[in-house]
C-alpha cells in the first residue's frame, strides 16, 4: 500500500523527466559506444586492480564497467520491510559506562553527523539530590508502541517487522511533529546543510543509515540497520571500549556484548540484574533495556569535564 503511493512521488516525476533527458544523451553516446566496441576486439591496455580479498589482478581496460549501485527503489523497499524473523533489542549496562564517548564518535561517523548532533548521547544523570550520579547512553528506544509514528502526517517514519523504527528522509516534510511526540528526545532536526553534504551529494540515499543526511528533515538512531543486514553489530555497540552494550535478537533470547564478544541469554541478563526500561509508565514499550549502575567498574567523580571521566 505504502509502496503504491510512494511511486507517485516527485521521484517518479523526476524519473520520467530523467528518461527524456537521458534519451538525448543516448543518441549522442552511440558514436562512443561504437568506438568502445571496436576497441574491444584487441586488448589494448591491462590495468592492475586490487580485489576485495587483497589479491592483485590484471584486467583488460575494455572490460572495466562502473560498479552497480543498488537502485534507490530497492533500498527503500527492503528498508521499509526490515529483516524477517528478527526482533532486535539492546541492553545497556550502566555500571560499565564511564563516558568514553566512543559510541557517539562511531555513530556520528557512520551517519555523517556533526559533533553537536546526536543519534546517541551519553548523559550525566542524577535521579535526586542524595542519589549517586551516573552516565547513561541514550539512543532511540525503538519503542514497540512508538508515539512518533502515530503523529507523522506523511508516513515518513514507521516501524519495521524487526522492531526498528526508521525515518525516510525522502518523504519527510520537516514538520517535526515526531520530535514533539518523542518522550525520549531521540530525534534531531537538520536545520542547516548537513556535514559533508557536498562530498556525498552523489551517494544513493540509504534509508537504513539515513545517509546522506538531508537539510530540513528529521534524523534519528537506526540501530545501524544497514550493518545488521550484514550480521554486524551496530556502530555504537562494537566501538564501546568498556563493554557497556549488549545487542541481539529477542526471538533467539540472546544478546552479544560488543566489546568482549560474549553472548548471554537476554532473559537471564535482564532478570539477574534487574533490567528496566526508560519511562515505562508511558506505555511506549522500549526495546532498549538498562541495567542499573550497581557495582561500578569505575569511580564516578561527578564531573563531566574531569579528565578521569573522559577516557
Amino acid at each position: 500500500m505504502t509502496q503504491k503511493t510512494s511511486d507517485k512521488s516527485r521521484r517518479n516525476f523526476l524519473k520520467s523527466f530523467g528518461v527524456t533527458v537521458g534519451a538525448a544523451g543516448v543518441v549522442s553516446s552511440f558514436s562512443l559506444l561504437g568506438a568502445a566496441k571496436a576497441a574491444a576486439k584487441e586488448p589494448e591496455e591491462m590495468v592492475n586492480l586490487l580485489t576485495a580479498d587483497g589479491q592483485l589482478v590484471q584486467v583488460d581496460k575494455n572490460q572495466l564497467r562502473p560498479t552497480v549501485t543498488e537502485p534507490l527503489n530497492e533500498l527503500q523497499k527492503r528498508g521499509r520491510e526490515g529483516i524477517a524473523g528478527k526482533s532486535f533489542v539492546m541492553v545497556i549496562d550502566l555500571s560499565k559506562c564511564r563516558n568514553a564517548r566512543k559510541c557517539m564518535d562511531a555513530c556520528q561517523n557512520h551517519h555523517q553527523l556533526r559533533a553537536d548532533q546526536h543519534h546517541i548521547n551519553v548523559l550525566q544523570m542524577q535521579d535526586s539530590e542524595h542519589t549517586a550520579p551516573y552516565f547513561m547512553p541514550k539512543p532511540c528506544q525503538h519503542c514497540d508502541n512508538p508515539p512518533c509514528t502515530k503523529v507523522c502526517p506523511v508516513d515518513a517514519t514507521f516501524k519495521r517487522q524487526d522492531g526498528i523504527v526508521l525515518i525516510d528522509n525522502e518523504r519527510c516534510i520537516g514538520c517535526r511533529f515526531c520530535i514533539a511526540a518523542c518522550p525520549y528526545s531521540a530525534r534531531i532536526f537538520q536545520w542547516t546543510e548537513p556535514k559533508d553534504s557536498e562530498k556525498y551529494k552523489d551517494l544513493t540515499y540509504n534509508i537504513e543509515a539515513n545517509v546522506p543526511q538531508k537539510k530540513g528533515t528529521v534524523s534519528k538512531c537506526l540501530f545501524s540497520a544497514d550493518r545488521l543486514r550484514e550480521d554486524k553489530l551496530p556502530s555504537c555497540v562494537s566501538s564501546c571500549p568498556n563493554g557497556v552494550y549488549y545487542f541481539g535478537d529477542r526471538n533467539e533470547d540472546a544478546v552479544t556484548n560488543g566489546t568482549t564478544g560474549v553472548t548471554v541469554r537476554f532473559s537471564k541478563l535482564i532478570e539477574e540484574n534487574a533490567g528496566y526500561t526508560l519511562m515505562k509508565e508511558l506505555g511506549t514499550k522500549p526495546r532498549v533495556y538498562y541495567l542499573p549502575p550497581k557495582d561500578r567498574a569505575f569511580k564516578f567523580n561527578g564531573d563531566l569535564l574531569n579528565e578521569e571521566n573522559l577516557h
Binding site: 500500500m1 505504502t2 503511493t5 524477517a84 524473523g85 528478527k86 526482533s87 564511564r98 514497540d144 508502541n145 512508538p146 508515539p147 509514528t149 502515530k150 507523522c152 508516513d155 514507521f158 516501524k159 519495521r160 517487522q161 522492531g163 550480521d231 553489530l233 545487542f247 541481539g248 535478537d249 526471538n251 533467539e252 533470547d253 540472546a254 544478546v255 552479544t256 564478544g261 560474549v262 553472548t263 548471554v264 541469554r265 567498574a297 569505575f298 569511580k299
Partner: protein, 304 residues
C-alpha cells in the same frame, strides 16, 4: 686513602639510597594485605584467569616461569617465580589495582572479579599452595587424529560429546580431563551452554544439558558447535552439528496486526472508518449547502 674513603662513601650512599627506593616500592595497606582471594581455585576460575592473563599481562610479564618478559628497566617481574608468589593475595591484588611506574593501573580496566581470577591463575602455579588446586593430574596417551563425536539425546535434551584420539598402536581411546565448549549459534555470536566444569571423563565423554527453554527456529533447530576450549591441547578441533532439540519458535510479525502506531493500511479499522466518515460527512454538508443555494437561485429565475 682519601680517594678510597670517597669511593666507599659514594658506594654506601648509593646503596642506602637504592635500598630506600626499594623499600618504598609498594606501600600496601595492612588491611588490603590480609585479603584472601574470594574465588576458589577451580579449573574454570584458573582457566578464565589464564585467558585474562594472556590478554592483559603477558605482553610485558611474559609467560610465568619462562622468564621471557619484556627487556624493560627495571625488568618486569616473572609472575611465576616463588619470589613473587610468597606475597599474600591481597598484596598482589593491590599491585594490580594501583600499578607503579611502568606497571599501569588496572583499577578500572579489569573488574575486581577478573583481578581475582588472574590471582587464582598465578596461585595455581604456586609450588607452595599447589595442593589447593582441585585438579587431578591426568596424563593422556600420545594420540593423533583427535576428533569430537556428538550424540544427541532428544528426549532429555542432552548432548553427549566424545573426544577420542588414535593411539600409536591404532587403537582409538578417550581423552580425559579436557575442557570442551558447547556453543549455540546466535545472530551476533556464540552462546556458551557448557556450564561449569565442562571436562571430559575417563572415557573422553562429556554430557551437557541443553537449555530446555532456548529458542531455535521454526522447526526447533539450532546450530551447535563443540570445540576444545584451550587450543594448546590438541590444536583447533571442532565439530558442527544441527540439533533439533531447541524450542520451536514462530517469530511474530508485528506488522501483521493493526495498531495505533501502524502507518496507513495498518491503522485500526475504527480510525480509518471514523476518518472516512468524517470526510464524507463534512464534504456532504458542504455539497448539500451548495446544492440548496443552487436550487434557491433556480427558484428565483422561475419566480420572474
Amino acid at each position: 686513602m682519601k680517594n678510597t674513603f670517597n669511593i666507599l662513601a659514594t658506594i654506601i650512599l648509593v646503596l642506602s639510597l637504592s635500598a630506600t627506593v626499594c623499600a618504598e616500592g609498594w606501600d600496601v595497606p595492612a588491611s588490603v594485605k590480609k585479603k584472601q582471594n574470594p574465588y576458589e581455585l577451580t579449573k574454570r576460575n584458573i582457566s578464565s584467569g589464564k585467558k585474562i592473563f594472556q590478554t592483559t599481562c603477558k605482553s610485558c610479564h611474559g609467560d610465568p616461569g619462562k622468564g621471557n618478559m619484556l627487556p624493560l628497566q627495571p625488568p618486569p617481574t616473572d609472575l611465576g617465580s616463588q619470589n613473587f608468589l610468597v606475597q599474600t593475595d591481597g598484596e598482589i591484588f593491590h599491585k594490580i589495582r594501583t600499578g607503579k611506574g611502568a606497571m599501569p593501573t588496572f583499577e578500572k580496566t579489569l573488574s575486581d572479579e577478573s583481578k581475582w581470577m588472574v590471582i587464582a591463575y598465578l596461585r595455581s602455579l604456586d609450588k607452595m599452595k599447589r595442593e589447593a588446586v582441585v585438579t587431578k593430574a591426568v596424563v593422556n596417551p600420545e594420540v593423533t587424529d583427535v576428533k569430537i563425536d556428538i550424540d544427541v539425546d532428544s528426549e532429555h535434551k542432552k548432548l553427549i560429546a566424545e573426544l577420542t584420539g588414535l593411539k600409536k598402536d591404532g587403537k582409538r581411546v578417550g581423552l580425559e580431563g579436557i575442557e570442551l565448549s558447547f556453543l549455540v549459534k546466535r545472530a551476533f555470536g556464540q552462546l556458551d551452554i557448557s556450564g561449569e566444569e565442562a571436562y571430559t571423563n575417563e572415557k573422553g565423554q562429556l554430557i551437557v544439558q541443553f537449555p530446555t527453554d532456548l529458542p531455535g527456529d521454526r522447526e526447533g533447530q539450532a546450530n551447535l558447535l563443540v570445540k576444545i576450549t584451550d587450543e594448546d591441547n590438541y590444536g583447533p578441533i571442532e565439530e558442527k552439528r544441527v540439533v533439533s532439540i531447541a524450542v520451536p519458535t514462530n517469530p511474530k510479525n508485528i506488522l501483521s496486526e493493526r495498531a495505533m502506531w501502524g502507518t496507513r493500511a495498518n491503522a485500526p479499522i475504527w480510525i480509518i472508518a471514523t476518518y472516512v466518515l468524517g470526510v464524507i460527512g463534512i464534504w456532504g454538508v458542504i455539497f448539500l449547502i451548495l446544492f440548496q443555494l443552487f436550487q434557491l437561485s433556480k427558484m428565483r429565475v422561475k419566480s420572474k
